[in-house]
Amino acid sequence: MFNVQRLKGKSQSQIIEWVDIALEKKKVVSKEWELYKSNIKTGTSFIPFGMDSLVLGALALEMKRGGNTFAKYQIKTYNGKSNVIFKGYAGLRKDLTGTKYLANNPKVVSFGVGKLGAANAIKGGFIASVIISATFHSFEQMLNDKATWHDFVGGVSVDIGIAAVSSGIAWGAVATYVGGAAVMVAIGPMVAVAVVVVGAALTVLTNAFIDSYVLSNRISESLREAEQRLKDNLLKIKYEAKRLENSYEKDPIGFMYRLFGIPYFERRF
C-alpha cells in the first residue's frame, strides 16, 4: 500500500497525510484511539488467558463425555517413553478416544495435558502476547503522529521482556508447587492455566512496580541517541571520504605516500 503510494511519486509526509485522511474516512480517528488505547490494551492482554480457558473447557467437555468431568489421568513411563493414561469411558469421548497416548501425541498436547501440553499452552500464550503487543504498538505508531519507530521498539521490547520474565517465574513457581508427581490432578491443563494466571498477575504487578513506561521511554531515547550518533558518524565518514578524495585529486602521489606512511617531500628533489 505504502509502496504503491511511493511509486505514485508521493513523499513520506504526503503518504502520512494520505493515511490520516484514509483513517478519518474510515472513522478510525486518532483522538478516539488516544482515549481508549489503554482500555483496549488491557482487554487484549487477557486473550492468552481466554485461549487457555477454552482449552480447559474443551478438555472438561471431553472428560464429561467420557463419564466424569473431573476424571483423572496418569502419567506412566513405558520403555523410557512417557505415556498419558486416561480414566473413564474412552469410547464415549469425541477426540481422546484411546485410553493410552504418548505424552507427545499432538492430540494430547493440544488439550494441554501433561508437561508438554502445559509448555505448549504457555508458549502459545507468550506468542499471543508478543503479537498483541506488536499489533498494539503498530496502531499507536500509525495513529499517533508523534510516535516513532524508537517508541515501537522500546515499548515492544519492554512488554516482551516483562512477559517473558513473569511467565518464567510463574512457570518455575507452579512447577515447583506441583512437583514431579506422576499422578497429577486430572483437569488436564489446570497447571497451564495456573501458570498463565500467575504469569498475568506478575506481569501486571511488574509493570506497576518498575514503572515500565519510564523504562520503555528510556529505551526509545537510547535508540534515538544511537541513531543520532550513527548519523553524526556517517556524516563524519562522508566528510573524511570527501577530504581524502579531494586530497587524492590534488596530489595523487602525495596521497599514496601519506596512505602508506612514507615520508614525502613533494618537489624538493
Binding site: K41, Y177, A181, V183, V197, V204, L205, F209, S212, Y213
Partner: protein, 193 residues
C-alpha cells in the same frame, strides 16, 4: 543410601527455598506499590495538578491469596507434607482468584474513574504511553494536557512531581513554558529542528 538421596534432593530443596523467597519478595513489592498507589490517590484531596493512576494495583490484592497458596504449597513440599487433594484445592484457589481479580479490576476502574471525574480530573492520554503498565494520567485542568508534550512526557511528569513535592501549584503558563522548553531541548538534542 540415605546420604545419596539427600544429596540428590538438595537442588530441589534449593529451588523450593528460592521460589518461596522470590514469591515473598514479590508480595512485599506489591504492598510497597499498593502504598504508593494509595498515597497517589490521596493527592486528590489536596487537589494536586496531576495524578498517575494505575487502576490495576488495588484490585491486584485479590491475586495475593494465589501467591500465598503457592508459597504455602511449596513450603509443604519442602517439609514433605504434600497431598494430591491439597494440591488440587490450591490450584482451584490460584485459578479462582483470577476471575475475581478481573471483575474487581473492571468495577474498581469504573468507580475510581467516576470518582476522579467527580473531583474535576480528566484523563490526559498525551502523557500516557502504550506500554502495558503505563498509568492513566489525570489532570485537574484540561489545559495542562498539551498534545505536543508526548515526546517529553516523562520529563514533564517528573517536573509536575517536583512541583508537587515543593508544594507549588502550577499555572497554565508555567506548564506551557516548561513543555515548550523541554520540547525545544529535545528537538535540539536529537537534531530535529
Amino acid at each position: 543410601m540415605n546420604a545419596q538421596t539427600e544429596t540428590s534432593n538438595l537442588p530441589k530443596k534449593r529451588q523450593e527455598v528460592f521460589f518461596i523467597a522470590l514469591l515473598t519478595l514479590i508480595i512485599i513489592g506489591y504492598f510497597y506499590t499498593l502504598y504508593d498507589e494509595i498515597t497517589m490517590l490521596k493527592r486528590v484531596y489536596e487537589d494536586a495538578a496531576l495524578l498517575k493512576v494505575r487502576t490495576s494495583v488495588i484490585p491486584l490484592i485479590m491475586m495475593m491469596p494465589s501467591l500465598a497458596v503457592l508459597i504455602w504449597g511449596i513450603g509443604c513440599r519442602l517439609v514433605g507434607k504434600v497431598s494430591e487433594r491439597s494440591q488440587k484445592n490450591g490450584l482451584f484457589i490460584i485459578i479462582g482468584c483470577f476471575p475475581i481479580f478481573l471483575i474487581g479490576w473492571a468495577i474498581y476502574s469504573w468507580q475510581v474513574m467516576n470518582w476522579l471525574d467527580d473531583n474535576g480530573y480528566t484523563q490526559c492520554s498525551s502523557y500516557s504511553g502504550v506500554t502495558m503498565g503505563a498509568p492513566k494520567i489525570m489532570v485537574n485542568n484540561p489545559s495542562f494536557c498539551i498534545e505536543e508534550g508526548y515526546q517529553v512526557r516523562i520529563e514533564l511528569l517528573d517536573w509536575f512531581e517536583g512541583l508537587y513535592l515543593q508544594d507549588v501549584t502550577p499555572t497554565i503558563e508555567m506548564v506551557t513554558d516548561k513543555q515548550e522548553k523541554l520540547l525545544s531541548n529535545y528537538n535540539e538534542r536529537f537534531d530535529l529542528l
